[in-house]
């Protein structure tokens, strides 16, 4: 079905008045003629999977937050509240697809299969990268805001050149939409009709700055100026996010080019463990977002479907605790890198100059052995 008709904006954008939702806060299904056809196979079992995923992601997030407070990690950017915005699209990806994300994509990392022991090393400042990008088909996390959108677009262009059945998903925050790189990525994706999906997790804040500082119009309206169709979706509704991602991926896979998804959500935690949101936002606004909690909503939906919630919760807890235990062990017992790691992997072909510095440093360390 042809849902998105390329036309001058704002006709290219859907959900500008109200983000697309299929799950009401009380768990009842809201009919949506755009999304529903993409959810016909989501039965109780499939919804349970999404539920367990979100519980595990949240558990990983809270465990890591605690580990940082306890001094086992140096920093953590929490995603509390954004579980659905990541799990919904992550579960719509095909194994061969690639993810190019920022530093807050713990849900994507987990569901792509990142090794938790390696993942923990990033946030212990033991390593810059935390998984094998080619193995899990997810680029190293990106701290420079928006830079990864160009990488995702280039990957998609290359996949198209190769005739590969692959889609690149690039995900970023509301603040990133102000970056030149994101706007250039939209230009290129449109010009080359690249099979790339732009997922903007609009969590309302770029550190302290509310989204109104970045844009006077809904973020989902922006891409329409580039000729890219756009979906504005309730980012706390895992089913709506799953369906929107399926629409975008199908479109990319069938040669329809790029799609932009704005996931309207909320970062309930601080920007990172060093941030203090009390300085810039009213804690009262949190209440409204806690009421829209992505996990509670699915619990209610599952209950309405007749699921044995006690058993589902117990199963989810076992798996989440297992994950937390594994992550804690990795964080507590990781082996720090040696000084030699400074010099590794700078070049494919090591240079004389750097190898000389490696030897000089080794000699220096040997000279003070016993002194420290």
């Amino acid at each position: 079905m042809s849902i998105i008709v390329p036309a001058p904006h704002p006709e290219l954008a859907v959900g500008l008045d109200s983000p697309l939702t299929v799950l009401d806060l009380d768990g009842t299904r809201i009919a949506n003629e755009l999304l529903d056809p993409h959810l016909t196979d989501i039965d109780e079992s499939a919804l349970t999977t999404l539920y367990v995923d979100m519980v595990r992601v949240r558990r990983l997030d809270t465990e890591a937050f605690a580990l940082t407070r306890q001094g086992h990690l140096v920093l953590w950017p929490p995603l509390l509240g954004q579980e659905a915005a990541q799990v919904g699209p992550a579960r719509a990806l095909a194994p061969q697809d690639w993810v190019f994300g920022s530093y807050r994509e713990h849900g994507f990392a987990l569901l792509r299969g990142a090794d938790m022991a390696e993942f923990a090393r990033i946030w212990k400042a033991f390593a810059h990268g935390g998984w094998d990008p080619h193995e899990i088909r997810m680029a190293p996390s990106q701290i420079i805001i928006g830079a990864q959108t160009l990488h995702g677009t280039g990957y998609a262009m290359a996949a198209k050149m190769d005739g590969a059945d692959e889609v690149a998903l690039t995900t970023f925050g509301d603040g990133a939409t102000s970056e030149g790189d994101v706007n250039e990525a939209l230009v290129w994706a449109s010009a080359f009709q690249a099979p790339v999906v732009f997922l903007c997790q609009n969590n309302q804040y770029a550190i302290s700055e509310p989204v109104a500082v970045q844009s006077g119009v809904p973020l989902a309206l922006r891409p329409t100026g580039f000729g890219i169709p756009s979906l504005r979706v309730d980012g706390n509704d895992v089913l709506a996010m799953h369906a929107a991602a399926r629409i975008a991926f199908d479109r990319a896979r069938s040669g329809g080019g790029p799609t932009f998804i704005e996931a309207v959500t909320y970062r309930r935690g601080p920007h990172t463990t060093t941030d203090d949101p009390k300085r810039y936002r009213d804690e009262a606004e949190m209440e409204a977002w806690i009421a829209k909690d992505p996990i509670d909503r699915v619990e209610r939906a599952l209950t309405r479907m007749g699921a044995n919630m006690e058993a589902v919760r117990a199963e989810a807890k076992i798996r989440a605790d297992q994950l937390a235990k594994e992550f804690r062990a990795a964080a507590e017992h990781a082996e720090p890198p040696t000084a030699d790691a400074i010099f590794d992997h700078v070049y494919a072909q090591p240079t004389k100059r750097l190898e000389r510095q490696r030897l000089e440093h080794r000699a220096f360390l040997a000279s003070i052995e016993g002194d420290r």
């Binding site: 990008p133 240079t351 004389k352």
Partner: protein, 346 residues
């Protein structure tokens, strides 16, 4: 077997042979396709290899590099063109924070076999932003290789090496020499980190690269008329620098002049002279000298001949290292060259 080519045609031949030899090689840049590049360096390549492999890109330097990174993840070897030296800065983050660091950040799992071609340097009588020498910004960044070429042969062989390298390489092409001709033997293989001794001599070493190599060779010929033997080294690689070759030369000559078009401050000459001081200090017979662009922005080209290293400025520096009469004779007190006041701007 060799052929006579201009430097621009030698670059074209290297690109053409690389495209021919490896179907994962592709070219991307502004105006490189139908037009053949603003200097016609890529002339005919799109017609021969198609618009999929010689891509006319939208006008966005950061995106040229950023999307080339994405293509590298899929195993393409992208040769990206930045149209002019002065246009590279919008791509600075993607080059310095991304291209340079992805191998390190992924602990060797992500390769960035990217080549970034940059026509650079002055003496073309152009307007602002078209004559700069920004190589030091990139030489300062770990993970990048930065190379230049001084002749058509060097351009051909070094560019082939750059494209074949699994490391990201910035290839600075001396656009003022695009139309100089020379013999090119396509079978000559060059690496990305060895300097060439292009003239031998016992008295003074001149280290040059890119467009200044020719000036240095002319200085060697002129000095020979006065019985001074100048050894000329074409550094070729700016990062990593081949300090060994320069040190070996300075151990024999005891005197060093470094020349480039880029400004002196925190430049290749800064690095080279510091390295030589560290490793050959006892062999130096005189303070090293440098002949470079001044520490001003690139000037209006009406006066670029005063800004750029010239034959006479090089010979003057050679004279200084030898204690011969030179432009600063009688001005040996450094304060004599200092402005009387620093108060008023002019």
């Amino acid at each position: 077997m060799s052929e006579t080519l201009t430097l621009a045609k030698a670059v074209n031949a290297a690109l053409s042979d690389a495209l021919e030899g490896d179907d994962r090689v592709l070219l991307m840049g502004e105006d490189i396709g139908k037009l053949g590049g603003v200097f016609r360096v890529t002339d005919g390549l799109q017609a021969r290899f198609g618009p999929q492999r010689v891509i006319d890109s939208p006008l966005a330097e950061s995106a040229i590099i950023g999307t080339a990174i994405g293509m590298s993840y899929r195993g393409f070897r992208v040769v990206a063109e930045i149209q002019f030296d002065g246009f590279i800065y919008p791509a600075f983050d993607q080059i310095v924070a991304q291209v340079a660091k992805l191998r390190y950040r992924s602990r060797g799992r992500v390769a960035m076999p990217l080549t970034i071609r940059v026509p650079y340097g002055g003496a073309i009588g152009s307007v602002e932003h078209h004559s700069e020498s920004p190589e030091s910004y990139f030489a300062h960044t770990a993970g990048l290789r930065v190379v230049t070429a001084s002749t058509p042969q060097e351009a051909y062989s070094t560019l082939r090496a750059a494209i074949a390298s699994d490391d990201p390489v910035l290839f600075f092409e001396p656009k003022g020499k695009y139309y100089s001709k020379g013999e090119v033997d396509r079978s000559i293989v060059r690496d990305l980190e060895t300097a060439n001794v292009v003239a031998s001599g016992r008295d003074v070493t001149i280290a040059a690269y890119g467009p200044t190599v020719e000036t240095a060779l002319r200085a060697a010929i002129a000095a020979a008329d006065e019985g001074i033997e100048v050894e000329v080294i074409d550094l070729r690689a700016i990062s990593p620098l081949d300090v060994d070759t320069v040190v070996a030369s300075v151990r024999r000559t005891g005197r060093l002049v470094v020349t480039h078009e880029a400004p002196a401050e925190s430049s290749v000459s800064s690095e080279l002279i510091a390295s030589v001081a560290e490793r050959a200090f006892p062999f130096l017979e005189a303070a090293p000298e440098r002949v470079t662009g001044y520490d001003s922005p690139y000037p209006p080209s009406a006066v670029e001949h005063d800004y750029l290293p010239s034959l006479d400025r090089l010979l003057d520096a050679v004279d200084r290292t030898l204690g011969r009469r030179n432009s600063r004779t009688g001005l040996d007190d450094p304060s004599a060259l200092a402005p009387a006041t620093t108060g008023a701007a002019r």
